[in-house]
């Protein structure tokens, strides 16, 4: 064991981007700044004669015959759904986001030697980059309203209002999300840079924080269906409800994890990104680049593009080949997690 003098078997990082749950309200586009017109959206239960519309389930997918035979058999089911009221044409999504500093210190680390070399690596990154690139990318994911997920597809108008709530440093931004692409991060919009710098400053700090409030308005059309988070139901019994949506205190909602996943979808540095056929666009920051919905990991240890390959070198003082790889490693630390390795 002596040969692994700088192996930390206990190593954990707190997440530095902390979103709240997202709450869904309905309103009209012209009335969006009048909070009196906003009503909380509730889930409604529907009994439908269902057909299989999601064909991507792995078990069925592997058998094309079974896959299509599933279609259109009498399949009575009860599902949750959520829609705007007939006179409402706009969805409002409300959440808050706390950005924390202190990435220099792991929340748990049992090896002093490792801790020292790690702190050195982080400090030199902060000195060099001041988190500018990551800050800008997180800001763009707020500006382009990626966190709306399916609610964003085909929307007529999208407005994102971001307010910094810190007592001594209040600030507000308004973005027209349709002007910002979700496919790339090449954008030098002044407001985005400004917001990005605030996020970067909080991330780079030792113990500071930034508190953001986000109100997003999406014009989707009268009485249209909207999409809160779906709850993962493990024991679907026969005759029970097969789709359960998420709500908090009778307000339809999106999981904080889902908002967080959208905000950290900034990884354009994985090998297949530039390959038009194979690219999945920006993917969420994950140690193995996993995109569960596509059933694929874009950073496999085999290709030596995964987090652990980079981190083991970098945290011990070896420079990485590309600055992009350093961005990626830092973004994982911002995401947080338990990264200890066996000392045996």
């Amino acid at each position: 064991m002596a040969k692994n003098q700088d192996t930390a078997s206990v190593l954990a990082f707190e997440k530095k981007l902390v979103p709240s749950d997202g709450y869904l309200y309905g309103t009209q586009w012209e009335e969006r700044n009048n909070s009196a017109s906003q009503t909380a959206l509730q889930l409604s239960e529907k009994s439908v004669r269902g057909t299989i519309s999601n064909r991507l389930k792995a078990a069925i997918k592997s058998d094309p015959v079974k896959l299509n035979a599933e279609v259109e058999k009498a399949n009575l089911q009860t599902v949750d759904s959520c829609a705007l009221a007939p006179e409402q044409d706009t969805l409002k999504l409300h959440f808050t986001l706390k950005v924390l500093g202190g990435v220099q210190k792991p929340s748990a680390c049992n090896n002093a030697l490792f801790k020292e070399s790690y702190a050195q690596a982080v400090n030199s990154y902060i000195e060099k980059e001041s988190f500018k690139e990551l800050g800008k990318r997180y800001a763009l994911n707020l500006a382009n309203a990626r966190f709306l997920w399916r609610n964003r597809v085909g929307a007529e108008n999208i407005e994102v209002q971001v307010n910094a709530l810190n007592k001594d440093n209040k600030q507000s931004w308004v973005f027209d999300a349709t002007k910002f692409s979700t496919r790339h991060f090449e954008n030098e919009d002044k407001q985005v840079i400004e917001l990005g710098d605030r996020i970067a400053a909080a991330l780079a700090s030792e113990a500071d924080f930034l508190m953001l409030e986000i109100n997003c308005f999406v014009q989707v059309g009268k009485a249209q269906e909207v999409y809160p988070s779906e709850e993962l139901v493990l024991d679907k019994g026969k005759g029970k409800k097969s789709k359960i949506l998420y709500s908090v205190n009778d307000i339809a909602a999106m999981h904080s994890q889902k908002l967080g996943n959208a905000l950290r979808s900034i990884d354009t540095w994985y090998p297949e990104f530039d390959d038009a056929e194979k690219s999945a666009g920006p993917i969420a920051i994950e140690p193995y680049g996993a995109v569960t919905n596509l059933g694929k990991a874009y950073r496999t240890p085999k290709d030596k593009q995964d987090f652990y390959t980079f981190f083991d070198k970098w945290a011990r003082g070896t420079a990485l080949e590309r600055i992009e790889d350093e961005h990626y490693v830092m973004a994982i630390l911002v995401r947080g997690g338990v990264f200890g390795e066996s000392d045996k």
Partner: protein, 212 residues
């Protein structure tokens, strides 16, 4: 059909291909209705070059075809898909290659289980009246030839815009089933505003499109 342009659907985590097909095809349908050449008739046809693909039955590509280049440029599909620009990639108009084979895409009307039941009942009632047998006997007899509501074709969920306009709260989605027919040789015919061949009962009357 001498010119074409391809639209690629770009799924993301949580935004599946099925969901994108719904949104894209709805817009394409509206565009074709706005550009129709006569009642229920479109000069522009659609094709699904990756129809039947392993990962997803409709693939991830939609192709628009026309006889004249100007018909496609006039349609200006990027305007109609404007709000979906983060989720689709539209290529430029190109001439169709010479070595293409010919196929036709048609809409398949499928009766659901409920509709089949309803038809069966009314058939049995008419038969019972005519023959004087009790209804139950007729129903059991008909049961033998009951059509099955099983269908294995790929489909896209669509929403009727007309129903929606009449009553926003009552709008309902319906599955548009799409069948591919191999025709062998080029055939001329009529395309509807879904860009599909008008559904004749015999193969000879279908409108074909080049497949490549």
């Amino acid at each position: 059909m001498k010119y074409y342009l391809d639209i690629t659907l770009l799924p993301e985590a949580d935004i599946t291909l099925g969901f994108l097909w719904q949104k894209v095809y709805q817009q394409v349908h509206i565009a074709l209705v706005e550009n129709k050449i006569s009642e229920h008739q479109s000069a522009i046809a659609v094709s699904f070059p990756r129809y039947g693909e392993y990962a997803f039955p409709l693939g991830n590509q939609l192709r628009l075809l026309a006889n004249e280049e100007s018909q496609l440029s006039q349609l200006n599909i990027s305007k109609w898909l404007n709000r979906l620009e983060d989720y689709v990639h539209i290529k430029s108009i190109k001439p169709v290659p010479d070595n293409a084979t010919h196929v036709a895409f048609v809409r398949q009307q499928v009766k659901g289980e409920a509709r089949v039941e309803k038809d069966m009942l009314s058939k049995a009632q008419r038969w019972a009246e005519k023959s004087g047998q009790p209804l139950d006997t007729c129903l059991t007899e008909l049961e033998k030839t009951k059509p099955k509501a099983v269908n294995s074709l790929p489909f896209i969920w669509l929403e009727s815009q007309e129903t929606k306009q009449r009553d926003a709260a009552k709008s309902r989605k319906f599955p548009l089933f799409i069948k591919k027919v191999e025709v062998g040789e080029k055939q001329t015919g009529i395309f509807n505003c879904y860009g599909l061949s008008v559904n004749h009962n015999n193969k000879e009357n279908l409108a074909s499109i080049p497949q490549f």
